[in-house]
């Protein structure tokens, strides 16, 4: 790799509302992004799909017309979409603030919709990521069963190197 290429990497960080995700971002800023480089950090937030129905749409779910699901009025649907966008904005603002605090780096943001596993894999390729960084959710059986599988899936299917970062468990000293 030439010196130029070394300093122009595209580091894709998948962020969400979890603490683990922000820890992964912070870790990659300190350990992956080179100082005085022209690396680009791309913050990717994926809004997971929810079953949205219009009362006029009797054919079924938007993403799968054959599958029955909950019926939302258009008001509720709009409220869910608004809330979902607000969460995305909030997460990305927090992530951008963290980037500024830790390391001077060029930051881009992306918000995408869909199954996080598929979207993260697709976007890694589309955005030409040199490395994908993800948090790993180690706490709680339910969270791990779902979110753990996102990092497992991505580490198996993404073509670029994948860095999975765990937030260390607090020690006794930390709790005091």
């Amino acid at each position: 790799m030439s010196e130029k290429a070394r300093n122009q990497r595209r580091v894709l960080v998948a962020v969400d509302e979890s603490e683990e995700s922000m820890y992964a971002l912070s870790w990659s800023l300190k350990n992956i992004v080179f100082q005085n480089s022209t690396d680009t950090l791309i913050l990717l937030y994926v809004k997971p799909p929810h079953a949205v129905y219009s009362p006029l749409d009797a054919t079924g779910r938007m993403d799968d017309p054959e599958t029955p699901g909950y019926l939302f009025s258009s008001d509720i649907s709009a409220a869910i979409n608004k809330y979902s966008q607000e969460v995305a904005d909030c997460v990305l603002e927090k992530a951008k603030k963290l980037c500024k605090e830790v390391q001077h780096v060029k930051v881009e943001t992306r918000v995408e919709n869909g199954d996080p596993r598929d979207v993260i894999c697709r976007m890694s390729e589309k955005l030409g990521a040199d490395v994908l960084v993800m948090g790993s959710h180690g706490y709680g059986v339910v969270k791990r069963a779902f979110l753990g599988s996102v990092s497992d899936y991505c580490s198996q299917n993404v073509k670029c190197p994948v860095l999975i970062v765990k937030k260390p468990k607090p020690t006794v000293a930390d709790r005091q």
Copy 2:
């Protein structure tokens, strides 16, 4: 992280006889190890266990006395151990040569015996690794079924961040 801590990281790279493993090492030298740092790169080679029997040892396999296994004469057993050590030496020599070529960095080597999954997890903690780097074996169903599971297991069980690096598939241009 202080500037001192930033430059004194312990990067553990699990190496084996595969090309993927050497690619992962090369990638981490270019993308993880900071230039002019005092990072330490630890090369870990794990010799997987094989069923070794002395004709005088009628109780069963060394690692599990209850399990029957192949019977090797002490000559064959010694030959296998010698071959296994030669492979380990050869892999580590190749890895150290690569380190010298790519990046000036302090290098330590370790050879351990056992199930690679358990050994890599245990050594990550014992050696105080700040990050674990592993190759991912993407080619071949059989290789992936066994070796893929090592990186899956480690990414789930190792406490420090885990970087899984895949060797890019050769393009048409590369083959010409």
